[in-house]
Protein backbone atom coordinates (compact mmCIF):
# COMPACT_ATOMS: atom_id res chain seq x y z
CA UNK A 1 0.00 0.00 0.00
CA UNK A 2 2.84 2.34 0.79
CA UNK A 3 4.34 1.73 -2.65
CA UNK A 4 0.96 2.48 -4.22
CA UNK A 5 0.70 5.75 -2.32
CA UNK A 6 4.21 6.77 -3.33
CA UNK A 7 3.97 5.76 -6.98
CA UNK A 8 0.37 6.48 -7.93
CA UNK A 9 -0.89 9.17 -5.55
CA UNK A 10 2.43 10.92 -5.18
CA UNK A 11 2.72 11.04 -1.42
CA UNK A 12 6.15 11.68 0.06
CA UNK A 13 7.69 8.54 1.49
CA UNK A 14 7.30 9.32 5.19
CA UNK A 15 3.64 10.25 4.80
CA UNK A 16 2.90 7.13 2.78
CA UNK A 17 4.39 4.86 5.43
CA UNK A 18 2.64 6.72 8.25
CA UNK A 19 -0.72 6.51 6.50
CA UNK A 20 -0.18 2.81 5.83
CA UNK A 21 0.69 2.13 9.45
CA UNK A 22 -2.29 4.10 10.76
CA UNK A 23 -4.70 2.37 8.38
CA UNK A 24 -3.41 -1.05 9.39
CA UNK A 25 -3.58 -0.22 13.09
CA UNK A 26 -7.12 1.16 12.85
CA UNK A 27 -8.28 -1.84 10.87
CA UNK A 28 -6.88 -4.28 13.45
CA UNK A 29 -8.40 -2.23 16.25
CA UNK A 30 -11.74 -2.46 14.49
CA UNK A 31 -11.41 -6.22 14.13
CA UNK A 32 -10.99 -6.48 17.91
CA UNK A 33 -13.54 -3.88 19.02
CA UNK A 34 -16.13 -4.54 16.32
CA UNK A 35 -15.59 -8.26 16.67
CA UNK A 36 -16.19 -8.02 20.41
CA UNK A 37 -19.49 -6.19 19.81
CA UNK A 38 -20.72 -8.84 17.39
CA UNK A 39 -19.44 -11.79 19.40
CA UNK A 40 -20.94 -10.61 22.68
CA UNK A 41 -24.31 -10.33 20.96
CA UNK A 42 -23.80 -13.75 19.34
CA UNK A 43 -22.80 -15.26 22.67
CA UNK A 44 -25.98 -13.96 24.28
CA UNK A 45 -28.12 -15.36 21.51
CA UNK A 46 -26.34 -18.73 21.47
CA UNK A 47 -26.42 -19.06 25.24
CA UNK A 48 -30.10 -18.22 25.21
CA UNK A 49 -30.90 -20.75 22.49
CA UNK A 50 -28.93 -23.49 24.23
CA UNK A 51 -30.82 -22.75 27.44
CA UNK A 52 -34.17 -22.59 25.62
CA UNK A 53 -34.54 -18.83 26.01
CA UNK A 54 -34.80 -16.01 23.48
CA UNK A 55 -31.95 -13.76 24.55
CA UNK A 56 -31.94 -10.09 23.56
CA UNK A 57 -34.94 -9.32 21.39
CA UNK A 58 -35.74 -5.63 21.64
CA UNK A 59 -32.78 -3.30 21.29
CA UNK A 60 -32.38 -2.45 17.63
CA UNK A 61 -35.05 -4.56 16.04
CA UNK A 62 -36.15 -8.12 15.99
CA UNK A 63 -32.97 -9.94 16.97
CA UNK A 64 -31.59 -7.39 19.39
CA UNK A 65 -28.76 -6.47 17.02
CA UNK A 66 -27.84 -3.35 18.93
CA UNK A 67 -27.71 -4.94 22.37
CA UNK A 68 -23.90 -4.78 22.51
CA UNK A 69 -23.92 -1.13 21.53
CA UNK A 70 -26.37 -0.36 24.32
CA UNK A 71 -24.12 -2.30 26.69
CA UNK A 72 -21.16 -0.27 25.50
CA UNK A 73 -22.92 3.03 26.16
CA UNK A 74 -23.89 1.77 29.61
CA UNK A 75 -20.25 0.81 30.33
CA UNK A 76 -18.95 4.20 29.25
CA UNK A 77 -21.45 5.92 31.51
CA UNK A 78 -20.54 3.80 34.54
CA UNK A 79 -18.45 5.16 37.36
CA UNK A 80 -14.81 4.12 37.31
CA UNK A 81 -14.24 2.69 40.77
CA UNK A 82 -10.98 1.70 42.41
CA UNK A 83 -10.69 -0.18 45.73
CA UNK A 84 -9.13 1.77 48.58
CA UNK A 85 -6.17 -0.54 49.13
CA UNK A 86 -5.42 -0.94 45.46
CA UNK A 87 -2.08 -0.20 43.86
CA UNK A 88 -3.33 2.69 41.74
CA UNK A 89 -0.85 2.65 38.89
CA UNK A 90 -0.94 -1.11 38.34
CA UNK A 91 -4.72 -1.18 38.72
CA UNK A 92 -5.16 1.41 35.99
CA UNK A 93 -2.50 -0.09 33.76
CA UNK A 94 -3.59 -3.73 33.84
CA UNK A 95 -6.50 -3.62 31.32
CA UNK A 96 -4.33 -1.87 28.75
CA UNK A 97 -1.58 -4.47 29.15
CA UNK A 98 -4.04 -7.24 28.35
CA UNK A 99 -5.50 -5.33 25.45
CA UNK A 100 -2.10 -4.41 24.00
CA UNK A 101 -0.95 -8.04 24.06
CA UNK A 102 -4.08 -9.11 22.23
CA UNK A 103 -3.66 -6.28 19.74
CA UNK A 104 0.03 -6.94 19.08
CA UNK A 105 -0.62 -10.56 18.20
CA UNK A 106 -2.94 -9.41 15.41
CA UNK A 107 -0.09 -7.50 13.77
CA UNK A 108 1.46 -10.68 12.38
CA UNK A 109 -1.82 -12.41 11.53
CA UNK A 110 -2.49 -12.55 7.78
CA UNK A 111 -6.10 -12.04 6.69
CA UNK A 112 -5.39 -12.80 3.04
CA UNK A 113 -2.28 -13.13 0.91
CA UNK A 114 -1.20 -9.50 1.18
CA UNK A 115 -3.59 -8.40 3.90
CA UNK A 116 -1.24 -8.62 6.84
CA UNK A 117 -0.15 -5.88 9.24
CA UNK A 118 3.50 -6.86 9.15
CA UNK A 119 4.66 -10.02 7.47
CA UNK A 120 7.18 -11.64 9.81
CA UNK A 121 9.20 -14.66 8.82
CA UNK A 122 8.70 -15.97 12.36
CA UNK A 123 4.97 -15.17 12.39
CA UNK A 124 3.77 -18.25 14.28
CA UNK A 125 6.40 -17.87 16.93
CA UNK A 126 5.62 -14.18 17.37
CA UNK A 127 1.88 -14.74 17.70
CA UNK A 128 2.30 -17.50 20.29
CA UNK A 129 4.86 -15.47 22.25
CA UNK A 130 2.72 -12.34 22.36
CA UNK A 131 -0.47 -14.22 23.12
CA UNK A 132 1.14 -15.57 26.29
CA UNK A 133 1.68 -12.00 27.49
CA UNK A 134 -2.02 -11.35 27.83
CA UNK A 135 -2.00 -13.14 31.17
CA UNK A 136 0.38 -10.45 32.39
CA UNK A 137 -2.41 -7.90 32.58
CA UNK A 138 -4.53 -10.44 34.41
CA UNK A 139 -1.89 -11.03 37.08
CA UNK A 140 -1.34 -7.30 37.49
CA UNK A 141 -5.09 -6.80 37.83
CA UNK A 142 -5.38 -9.58 40.38
CA UNK A 143 -2.52 -8.27 42.45
CA UNK A 144 -3.39 -4.60 42.26
CA UNK A 145 -7.06 -5.05 43.15
CA UNK A 146 -6.22 -5.74 46.81
CA UNK A 147 -8.89 -8.40 46.83
CA UNK A 148 -8.54 -12.09 47.65
CA UNK A 149 -10.95 -13.11 44.90
CA UNK A 150 -8.95 -11.24 42.31
CA UNK A 151 -5.65 -12.63 43.54
CA UNK A 152 -6.85 -16.23 43.47
CA UNK A 153 -8.37 -15.77 40.04
CA UNK A 154 -5.17 -14.29 38.68
CA UNK A 155 -2.98 -17.00 40.19
CA UNK A 156 -5.17 -19.72 38.74
CA UNK A 157 -5.08 -18.12 35.34
CA UNK A 158 -1.31 -17.76 35.49
CA UNK A 159 -0.82 -21.42 36.41
CA UNK A 160 -3.21 -22.49 33.69
CA UNK A 161 -1.85 -20.37 30.87
CA UNK A 162 1.77 -21.17 31.65
CA UNK A 163 0.97 -24.90 31.68
CA UNK A 164 -1.04 -24.92 28.50
CA UNK A 165 1.60 -23.07 26.55
CA UNK A 166 3.63 -26.28 26.45
CA UNK A 167 1.17 -28.49 24.51
CA UNK A 168 0.02 -25.48 22.50
CA UNK A 169 3.58 -24.90 21.33
CA UNK A 170 3.93 -28.54 20.34
CA UNK A 171 0.72 -28.42 18.32
CA UNK A 172 1.80 -25.28 16.52
CA UNK A 173 5.15 -26.80 15.58
CA UNK A 174 3.56 -29.53 13.42
CA UNK A 175 2.23 -27.27 10.62
CA UNK A 176 5.50 -25.35 10.81
CA UNK A 177 7.34 -28.61 10.21
CA UNK A 178 5.07 -29.59 7.31
CA UNK A 179 5.36 -26.21 5.62
CA UNK A 180 9.07 -25.81 6.32
CA UNK A 181 8.50 -22.21 7.36
CA UNK A 182 7.38 -20.18 10.36
CA UNK A 183 5.86 -17.54 8.11
CA UNK A 184 2.07 -17.66 8.49
CA UNK A 185 1.60 -16.46 4.89
CA UNK A 186 3.78 -19.29 3.56
CA UNK A 187 2.05 -21.89 5.73
CA UNK A 188 -1.37 -20.87 4.41
CA UNK A 189 -0.14 -20.69 0.82
CA UNK A 190 1.14 -24.28 0.99
CA UNK A 191 -2.39 -25.46 1.70
CA UNK A 192 -3.86 -23.89 -1.44
CA UNK A 193 -6.17 -25.99 -3.54
CA UNK A 194 -8.87 -28.44 -2.63
CA UNK A 195 -9.92 -29.18 0.91
CA UNK A 196 -7.70 -32.28 0.96
CA UNK A 197 -4.65 -30.05 0.91
CA UNK A 198 -5.43 -28.63 4.33
CA UNK A 199 -3.01 -29.75 6.98
CA UNK A 200 -5.99 -30.96 8.98
CA UNK A 201 -6.31 -33.81 6.47
CA UNK A 202 -2.60 -34.16 5.76
CA UNK A 203 -2.19 -37.33 7.79
CA UNK A 204 -3.88 -38.98 10.79
CA UNK A 205 -1.48 -37.36 13.23
CA UNK A 206 -2.27 -33.81 12.15
CA UNK A 207 -5.97 -34.59 12.40
CA UNK A 208 -5.54 -35.65 16.02
CA UNK A 209 -3.23 -32.81 16.90
CA UNK A 210 -5.75 -30.30 15.57
CA UNK A 211 -8.16 -31.33 18.31
CA UNK A 212 -5.40 -31.09 20.90
CA UNK A 213 -4.76 -27.59 19.59
CA UNK A 214 -8.45 -26.75 19.97
CA UNK A 215 -8.42 -27.91 23.60
CA UNK A 216 -5.26 -26.01 24.42
CA UNK A 217 -6.44 -22.89 22.61
CA UNK A 218 -9.69 -22.83 24.56
CA UNK A 219 -7.71 -23.26 27.77
CA UNK A 220 -5.13 -20.62 26.92
CA UNK A 221 -7.78 -17.96 26.33
CA UNK A 222 -9.57 -18.95 29.56
CA UNK A 223 -12.88 -19.89 28.09
CA UNK A 224 -15.22 -22.37 29.72
CA UNK A 225 -14.78 -25.22 30.52
CA UNK A 226 -11.37 -23.85 31.50
CA UNK A 227 -12.50 -20.51 32.96
CA UNK A 228 -11.21 -21.18 36.45
CA UNK A 229 -9.88 -17.65 36.66
CA UNK A 230 -13.36 -16.16 36.69
CA UNK A 231 -15.30 -19.02 38.24
CA UNK A 232 -18.32 -17.06 39.39
CA UNK A 233 -19.56 -19.78 41.73
CA UNK A 234 -16.34 -19.59 43.78
CA UNK A 235 -14.50 -16.39 43.01
CA UNK A 236 -17.27 -13.83 42.32
CA UNK A 237 -15.75 -12.75 39.02
CA UNK A 238 -12.10 -13.68 39.45
CA UNK A 239 -9.45 -11.19 38.44
CA UNK A 240 -11.89 -8.52 37.27
CA UNK A 241 -14.04 -8.52 40.40
CA UNK A 242 -13.02 -4.97 41.30
CA UNK A 243 -13.20 -3.52 37.82
CA UNK A 244 -16.09 -1.56 36.43
CA UNK A 245 -17.04 0.48 33.42
CA UNK A 246 -14.71 0.91 30.50
CA UNK A 247 -11.68 -0.68 32.17
CA UNK A 248 -13.63 -3.87 32.65
CA UNK A 249 -14.70 -3.81 29.02
CA UNK A 250 -11.04 -3.63 27.96
CA UNK A 251 -10.53 -7.04 29.55
CA UNK A 252 -13.48 -8.34 27.63
CA UNK A 253 -12.31 -6.91 24.36
CA UNK A 254 -8.95 -8.55 24.98
CA UNK A 255 -10.64 -11.88 25.71
CA UNK A 256 -12.80 -11.82 22.60
CA UNK A 257 -9.83 -10.60 20.58
CA UNK A 258 -7.77 -13.57 21.78
CA UNK A 259 -10.60 -15.97 21.04
CA UNK A 260 -10.77 -14.68 17.51
CA UNK A 261 -7.01 -14.80 17.22
CA UNK A 262 -6.57 -18.43 18.26
CA UNK A 263 -9.44 -19.37 15.92
CA UNK A 264 -7.83 -17.50 13.05
CA UNK A 265 -4.51 -19.14 13.91
CA UNK A 266 -6.18 -22.55 13.78
CA UNK A 267 -7.63 -21.62 10.41
CA UNK A 268 -4.24 -20.56 9.06
CA UNK A 269 -2.29 -23.48 10.51
CA UNK A 270 -4.70 -26.35 9.89
CA UNK A 271 -7.59 -25.22 7.71
CA UNK A 272 -5.96 -23.60 4.74
CA UNK A 273 -6.08 -19.99 5.92
CA UNK A 274 -7.72 -17.90 3.23
CA UNK A 275 -7.92 -20.83 0.81
CA UNK A 276 -11.49 -22.04 0.71
CA UNK A 277 -12.45 -25.72 0.67
CA UNK A 278 -13.04 -25.41 -3.09
CA UNK A 279 -10.59 -23.25 -5.04
CA UNK A 280 -13.37 -21.19 -6.60
CA UNK A 281 -11.13 -18.35 -7.72
CA UNK A 282 -8.75 -20.69 -9.50
CA UNK A 283 -11.51 -22.68 -11.13
CA UNK A 284 -13.05 -19.59 -12.74
CA UNK A 285 -9.64 -18.42 -13.84
CA UNK A 286 -9.08 -15.65 -11.33
CA UNK A 287 -5.63 -15.92 -9.89
CA UNK A 288 -2.58 -13.86 -9.18
CA UNK A 289 -1.45 -12.26 -12.38
CA UNK A 290 -4.83 -11.70 -14.05
CA UNK A 291 -4.75 -8.03 -13.17
CA UNK A 292 -4.93 -5.80 -10.15
CA UNK A 293 -8.71 -5.71 -9.81
CA UNK A 294 -9.06 -9.46 -10.12
CA UNK A 295 -6.22 -9.87 -7.69
CA UNK A 296 -7.92 -7.62 -5.19
CA UNK A 297 -11.16 -9.52 -5.60
CA UNK A 298 -9.41 -12.82 -4.96
CA UNK A 299 -7.91 -11.43 -1.78
CA UNK A 300 -11.25 -10.10 -0.58
CA UNK A 301 -12.71 -13.53 -1.16
CA UNK A 302 -9.82 -15.02 0.78
CA UNK A 303 -10.35 -12.63 3.64
CA UNK A 304 -14.04 -13.56 3.77
CA UNK A 305 -12.92 -17.18 3.90
CA UNK A 306 -10.54 -16.62 6.79
CA UNK A 307 -12.96 -14.46 8.75
CA UNK A 308 -15.65 -17.07 8.22
CA UNK A 309 -13.44 -19.87 9.52
CA UNK A 310 -12.31 -17.83 12.50
CA UNK A 311 -15.89 -16.87 13.33
CA UNK A 312 -16.87 -20.51 13.10
CA UNK A 313 -14.12 -21.31 15.61
CA UNK A 314 -15.39 -18.63 18.00
CA UNK A 315 -18.95 -19.93 17.68
CA UNK A 316 -17.74 -23.45 18.49
CA UNK A 317 -16.04 -22.06 21.59
CA UNK A 318 -19.35 -20.51 22.66
CA UNK A 319 -21.17 -23.77 21.99
CA UNK A 320 -18.64 -25.62 24.15
CA UNK A 321 -18.88 -23.00 26.87
CA UNK A 322 -22.63 -23.32 27.28
CA UNK A 323 -22.60 -27.10 26.99
CA UNK A 324 -19.81 -28.40 29.20
CA UNK A 325 -19.50 -27.87 32.96
CA UNK A 326 -16.43 -26.17 34.39
CA UNK A 327 -13.45 -28.34 35.30
CA UNK A 328 -11.84 -28.29 38.73
CA UNK A 329 -8.31 -26.88 38.91
CA UNK A 330 -6.73 -30.31 39.38
CA UNK A 331 -8.74 -31.63 36.43
CA UNK A 332 -7.51 -28.71 34.36
CA UNK A 333 -3.92 -29.55 35.23
CA UNK A 334 -4.50 -33.29 34.62
CA UNK A 335 -5.93 -32.53 31.18
CA UNK A 336 -2.88 -30.49 30.34
CA UNK A 337 -0.06 -32.59 31.78
CA UNK A 338 -1.41 -36.12 31.51
CA UNK A 339 -3.37 -35.93 28.27
CA UNK A 340 -2.64 -32.94 26.07
CA UNK A 341 1.13 -32.87 26.43
CA UNK A 342 1.81 -36.61 25.84
CA UNK A 343 -0.71 -36.80 22.99
CA UNK A 344 0.78 -33.71 21.38
CA UNK A 345 4.30 -35.12 21.76
CA UNK A 346 3.33 -38.49 20.30
CA UNK A 347 1.48 -36.90 17.40
CA UNK A 348 4.41 -34.61 16.75
CA UNK A 349 6.73 -37.61 16.53
CA UNK A 350 4.17 -39.42 14.36
CA UNK A 351 3.81 -36.54 11.92
CA UNK A 352 7.59 -36.30 11.73
CA UNK A 353 7.95 -40.00 10.94
CA UNK A 354 5.14 -39.73 8.38
CA UNK A 355 7.05 -36.99 6.61
CA UNK A 356 10.22 -39.05 6.73
CA UNK A 357 8.78 -42.43 5.69
CA UNK A 358 6.38 -41.25 3.01
CA UNK A 359 8.18 -38.80 0.76
CA UNK A 360 5.74 -36.12 -0.22
CA UNK A 361 3.71 -36.76 2.87
CA UNK A 362 0.92 -38.77 1.23
CA UNK A 363 0.05 -42.44 1.28
CA UNK A 364 1.16 -44.49 -1.76
CA UNK A 365 -1.25 -44.18 -4.65
CA UNK A 366 -2.30 -40.62 -3.94
CA UNK A 367 -0.82 -37.70 -5.76
CA UNK A 368 1.25 -35.15 -4.00
CA UNK A 369 -0.50 -31.85 -3.22
CA UNK A 370 0.76 -28.97 -5.28
CA UNK A 371 1.45 -26.91 -2.21
CA UNK A 372 3.91 -29.47 -0.92
CA UNK A 373 6.52 -28.86 -3.56
CA UNK A 374 9.20 -26.84 -1.90
CA UNK A 375 11.71 -25.95 -4.54
CA UNK A 376 14.29 -23.53 -3.37
CA UNK A 377 13.35 -23.13 0.25
CA UNK A 378 16.77 -24.39 1.18
CA UNK A 379 18.43 -21.55 -0.66
CA UNK A 380 20.04 -19.07 1.61
CA UNK A 381 20.90 -15.48 0.79
CA UNK A 382 24.02 -16.64 -1.02
CA UNK A 383 22.16 -18.90 -3.42
CA UNK A 384 23.53 -22.35 -4.18
CA UNK A 385 23.58 -24.85 -6.97
CA UNK A 386 21.22 -27.81 -7.08
CA UNK A 387 24.06 -30.25 -6.42
CA UNK A 388 25.16 -28.37 -3.34
CA UNK A 389 21.57 -28.30 -2.11
CA UNK A 390 21.14 -32.04 -2.47
CA UNK A 391 24.42 -32.66 -0.70
CA UNK A 392 23.23 -30.36 2.08
CA UNK A 393 20.09 -32.45 2.45
CA UNK A 394 22.18 -35.60 2.45
CA UNK A 395 24.26 -34.08 5.20
CA UNK A 396 21.20 -33.57 7.39
CA UNK A 397 19.42 -36.85 6.84
CA UNK A 398 21.32 -40.01 7.77
Amino acid sequence: MAEFLINSVGFPEWLAWTVTAVVAAVLILNVIAGGALVFIWAERKIAARIQDRLGPTRTGGRFGWLQSLADGIKLIAKEDLMPEGADGMLFRLAPYVSFCASFCAFIALPFAFDFVGQRLNVGVFFVVAVLGLEVFGVILAGYASASKWSLFGAMREAAQVVSYEVPLGMCVVVPVMLAGSMDLVTIAEKQAGWVTNWYLFHDPFTFVIFWVYVTCAVASVNRAPFDLAEAESELVAGFHTEYSGLRWSYFFMAEYGSMFLVSALAAVLFMGGWNGPIPVARLVGLSEGTGDTANYFVRLLGMANLLGKATLGVLVMMWVRWTLPRLRIDQVMTTCLKYCTPIAAAMFAGAMLWQLMLPGGVAPGLSRPAGEIREGWLEGPGGRSAAARSSAVAGVLP
Binding site: W14, A129, L133, L140, A159, G380, A392
Partner: protein, 229 residues
Protein backbone atom coordinates in the same frame (compact mmCIF):
# COMPACT_ATOMS: atom_id res chain seq x y z
CA UNK B 1 9.29 23.55 12.22
CA UNK B 2 11.49 20.69 11.17
CA UNK B 3 10.22 19.07 7.99
CA UNK B 4 8.98 15.60 8.87
CA UNK B 5 10.52 14.13 5.77
CA UNK B 6 13.98 15.12 6.95
CA UNK B 7 13.75 13.08 10.14
CA UNK B 8 15.54 9.76 10.20
CA UNK B 9 12.66 7.67 11.50
CA UNK B 10 14.80 4.62 12.05
CA UNK B 11 16.92 6.54 14.54
CA UNK B 12 13.86 8.06 16.16
CA UNK B 13 12.40 4.64 16.88
CA UNK B 14 15.80 3.36 17.96
CA UNK B 15 16.11 6.13 20.54
CA UNK B 16 12.52 5.64 21.62
CA UNK B 17 13.01 1.95 22.34
CA UNK B 18 16.48 2.50 23.80
CA UNK B 19 15.22 5.19 26.16
CA UNK B 20 12.32 2.98 27.19
CA UNK B 21 14.64 0.04 27.86
CA UNK B 22 17.15 2.11 29.87
CA UNK B 23 14.53 4.09 31.75
CA UNK B 24 12.65 0.98 32.81
CA UNK B 25 15.89 -0.72 33.78
CA UNK B 26 16.64 2.17 36.13
CA UNK B 27 13.08 1.99 37.42
CA UNK B 28 13.56 -1.69 38.29
CA UNK B 29 16.38 -0.71 40.60
CA UNK B 30 14.57 2.28 42.03
CA UNK B 31 11.22 0.60 42.68
CA UNK B 32 10.50 -0.98 46.06
CA UNK B 33 7.49 -3.11 45.21
CA UNK B 34 8.33 -6.51 43.73
CA UNK B 35 5.39 -6.54 41.33
CA UNK B 36 6.20 -3.08 40.02
CA UNK B 37 9.81 -4.15 39.59
CA UNK B 38 8.63 -7.09 37.51
CA UNK B 39 6.44 -4.79 35.43
CA UNK B 40 9.36 -2.46 34.70
CA UNK B 41 11.56 -5.45 33.92
CA UNK B 42 9.00 -6.70 31.41
CA UNK B 43 8.77 -3.26 29.81
CA UNK B 44 12.55 -3.05 29.60
CA UNK B 45 12.89 -6.50 28.06
CA UNK B 46 9.99 -5.79 25.72
CA UNK B 47 11.65 -2.61 24.52
CA UNK B 48 14.80 -4.64 23.88
CA UNK B 49 12.71 -7.00 21.77
CA UNK B 50 11.49 -3.92 19.90
CA UNK B 51 15.12 -3.00 19.21
CA UNK B 52 15.71 -6.48 17.78
CA UNK B 53 12.68 -6.15 15.51
CA UNK B 54 13.92 -2.73 14.46
CA UNK B 55 17.26 -4.27 13.50
CA UNK B 56 15.47 -6.85 11.36
CA UNK B 57 16.35 -9.74 13.68
CA UNK B 58 12.81 -11.02 13.93
CA UNK B 59 13.71 -14.44 15.27
CA UNK B 60 15.80 -13.01 18.09
CA UNK B 61 13.07 -10.50 18.87
CA UNK B 62 10.37 -13.15 19.11
CA UNK B 63 12.77 -15.29 21.15
CA UNK B 64 13.31 -12.37 23.53
CA UNK B 65 9.56 -12.03 23.97
CA UNK B 66 9.06 -15.74 24.47
CA UNK B 67 11.92 -16.53 26.85
CA UNK B 68 12.74 -13.38 28.77
CA UNK B 69 9.37 -11.68 28.95
CA UNK B 70 7.61 -15.01 29.45
CA UNK B 71 10.17 -15.98 32.07
CA UNK B 72 9.60 -12.75 33.94
CA UNK B 73 5.95 -13.71 33.99
CA UNK B 74 6.77 -16.74 36.13
CA UNK B 75 8.96 -14.52 38.29
CA UNK B 76 5.99 -12.22 38.73
CA UNK B 77 3.79 -15.12 39.77
CA UNK B 78 6.25 -16.05 42.48
CA UNK B 79 6.58 -12.40 43.44
CA UNK B 80 2.85 -12.11 43.93
CA UNK B 81 2.60 -15.42 45.78
CA UNK B 82 5.43 -14.63 48.17
CA UNK B 83 4.84 -10.95 48.78
CA UNK B 84 1.10 -10.56 48.92
CA UNK B 85 1.43 -10.31 52.70
CA UNK B 86 2.16 -6.99 54.31
CA UNK B 87 5.76 -7.40 55.56
CA UNK B 88 7.13 -8.14 52.10
CA UNK B 89 5.23 -5.59 50.05
CA UNK B 90 8.05 -3.10 50.14
CA UNK B 91 11.65 -4.21 49.69
CA UNK B 92 14.45 -1.84 50.55
CA UNK B 93 17.95 -2.38 49.33
CA UNK B 94 20.77 -1.97 51.80
CA UNK B 95 23.23 0.85 50.97
CA UNK B 96 26.12 -1.60 50.84
CA UNK B 97 24.31 -3.67 48.23
CA UNK B 98 23.70 -0.56 46.17
CA UNK B 99 27.42 0.24 46.14
CA UNK B 100 28.31 -3.32 45.21
CA UNK B 101 25.68 -3.43 42.45
CA UNK B 102 26.88 -0.05 41.21
CA UNK B 103 30.47 -1.25 40.94
CA UNK B 104 29.52 -4.42 39.07
CA UNK B 105 27.11 -2.54 36.81
CA UNK B 106 29.74 0.08 36.02
CA UNK B 107 32.26 -2.65 35.17
CA UNK B 108 29.81 -4.29 32.77
CA UNK B 109 28.93 -0.92 31.26
CA UNK B 110 32.63 -0.22 30.69
CA UNK B 111 33.03 -3.53 28.84
CA UNK B 112 29.96 -2.82 26.71
CA UNK B 113 31.04 0.74 25.91
CA UNK B 114 34.49 -0.43 24.96
CA UNK B 115 33.10 -3.00 22.55
CA UNK B 116 30.51 -0.56 21.22
CA UNK B 117 33.12 2.04 20.37
CA UNK B 118 35.47 -0.51 18.86
CA UNK B 119 33.00 -1.32 16.08
CA UNK B 120 34.53 0.21 12.96
CA UNK B 121 31.29 1.19 11.23
CA UNK B 122 27.61 1.18 12.17
CA UNK B 123 25.18 0.25 9.45
CA UNK B 124 21.43 0.30 9.25
CA UNK B 125 19.69 -2.96 8.33
CA UNK B 126 19.24 -3.27 4.61
CA UNK B 127 15.88 -2.03 3.36
CA UNK B 128 13.38 -4.51 2.03
CA UNK B 129 12.78 -8.12 2.84
CA UNK B 130 15.73 -9.51 0.94
CA UNK B 131 18.24 -8.19 3.40
CA UNK B 132 16.56 -9.72 6.42
CA UNK B 133 17.78 -13.06 7.67
CA UNK B 134 15.05 -15.65 7.45
CA UNK B 135 14.52 -18.26 10.12
CA UNK B 136 15.20 -21.16 7.76
CA UNK B 137 18.99 -20.65 7.48
CA UNK B 138 19.08 -20.39 11.27
CA UNK B 139 17.30 -23.71 11.64
CA UNK B 140 19.50 -25.33 9.03
CA UNK B 141 22.61 -24.05 10.79
CA UNK B 142 21.42 -25.55 14.05
CA UNK B 143 21.00 -28.85 12.23
CA UNK B 144 24.58 -28.70 11.05
CA UNK B 145 24.25 -27.15 7.59
CA UNK B 146 25.30 -23.63 6.93
CA UNK B 147 23.34 -22.60 3.88
CA UNK B 148 24.71 -19.09 4.08
CA UNK B 149 28.32 -20.14 3.65
CA UNK B 150 29.70 -20.90 0.24
CA UNK B 151 31.88 -23.71 1.55
CA UNK B 152 30.08 -26.47 -0.32
CA UNK B 153 33.20 -27.42 -2.24
CA UNK B 154 34.98 -28.96 0.71
CA UNK B 155 33.43 -32.20 1.96
CA UNK B 156 33.84 -31.15 5.58
CA UNK B 157 32.64 -27.63 4.95
CA UNK B 158 28.99 -28.56 4.71
CA UNK B 159 28.91 -29.68 8.32
CA UNK B 160 30.26 -26.45 9.73
CA UNK B 161 27.00 -25.73 11.57
CA UNK B 162 26.05 -25.75 15.22
CA UNK B 163 24.70 -29.27 15.61
CA UNK B 164 26.89 -30.21 18.57
CA UNK B 165 26.18 -27.10 20.70
CA UNK B 166 22.51 -27.46 19.82
CA UNK B 167 22.46 -31.09 20.96
CA UNK B 168 24.35 -30.30 24.16
CA UNK B 169 21.90 -27.56 25.03
CA UNK B 170 18.94 -29.81 24.19
CA UNK B 171 20.17 -32.64 26.38
CA UNK B 172 20.96 -30.19 29.14
CA UNK B 173 17.44 -28.78 29.03
CA UNK B 174 16.01 -32.31 29.00
CA UNK B 175 18.00 -33.15 32.12
CA UNK B 176 16.70 -30.00 33.80
CA UNK B 177 13.13 -30.94 32.86
CA UNK B 178 13.48 -34.45 34.20
CA UNK B 179 15.08 -33.10 37.36
CA UNK B 180 12.26 -30.62 37.87
CA UNK B 181 9.67 -33.34 37.38
CA UNK B 182 11.53 -35.55 39.87
CA UNK B 183 11.69 -32.80 42.47
CA UNK B 184 8.04 -31.86 42.02
CA UNK B 185 6.53 -35.34 41.91
CA UNK B 186 4.07 -36.49 44.55
CA UNK B 187 5.75 -38.60 47.18
CA UNK B 188 3.92 -41.52 48.72
CA UNK B 189 5.78 -42.08 51.98
CA UNK B 190 6.61 -38.80 53.56
CA UNK B 191 9.05 -37.89 56.23
CA UNK B 192 8.94 -34.41 57.81
CA UNK B 193 10.80 -32.11 55.51
CA UNK B 194 13.00 -29.18 56.34
CA UNK B 195 10.35 -26.69 55.24
CA UNK B 196 7.85 -28.07 57.74
CA UNK B 197 10.35 -28.07 60.57
CA UNK B 198 11.05 -24.45 59.76
CA UNK B 199 7.35 -23.71 59.46
CA UNK B 200 6.62 -24.93 62.97
CA UNK B 201 8.78 -22.11 64.31
CA UNK B 202 7.00 -19.36 62.40
CA UNK B 203 3.90 -17.27 63.12
CA UNK B 204 0.51 -19.05 62.87
CA UNK B 205 -0.58 -17.66 59.48
CA UNK B 206 2.57 -18.87 57.79
CA UNK B 207 2.31 -22.26 59.45
CA UNK B 208 -1.15 -22.72 58.01
CA UNK B 209 0.08 -21.85 54.54
CA UNK B 210 3.01 -24.23 54.79
CA UNK B 211 0.83 -26.97 56.20
CA UNK B 212 -1.48 -26.61 53.22
CA UNK B 213 1.50 -26.98 50.90
CA UNK B 214 2.74 -30.02 52.79
CA UNK B 215 -0.63 -31.74 52.97
CA UNK B 216 -1.42 -31.37 49.33
CA UNK B 217 2.01 -32.52 48.29
CA UNK B 218 2.73 -31.17 44.87
CA UNK B 219 -0.46 -31.92 43.00
CA UNK B 220 -0.53 -29.26 40.34
CA UNK B 221 -2.22 -26.07 41.38
CA UNK B 222 -3.64 -27.43 44.61
CA UNK B 223 -2.19 -24.52 46.55
CA UNK B 224 -4.29 -22.23 44.45
CA UNK B 225 -7.41 -24.28 44.91
CA UNK B 226 -6.85 -24.42 48.64
CA UNK B 227 -7.63 -20.79 49.06
CA UNK B 228 -11.02 -21.03 47.44
CA UNK B 229 -12.45 -23.54 49.87
Amino acid sequence: MIPLAAIDWHSVFFFLFAALACGCAVAVVAAENVVRMALYLVLSLGATAGLFFLAGAEFVGAMQLMIYVGGTLVLLVFGVMLTAQAPFVSIKTAPGDRVLAGVIGAALLAVLLQSAFSVPEWRKPAAGRDGEPAATPLGMALLGTRVDEASAGAPGGVRSGYLLPFEIVSVHLLVVLVGAAYLARAKRRRTPRAIEVAASMEPPATVAAHAAVGREGSRGGSVLAGGAR
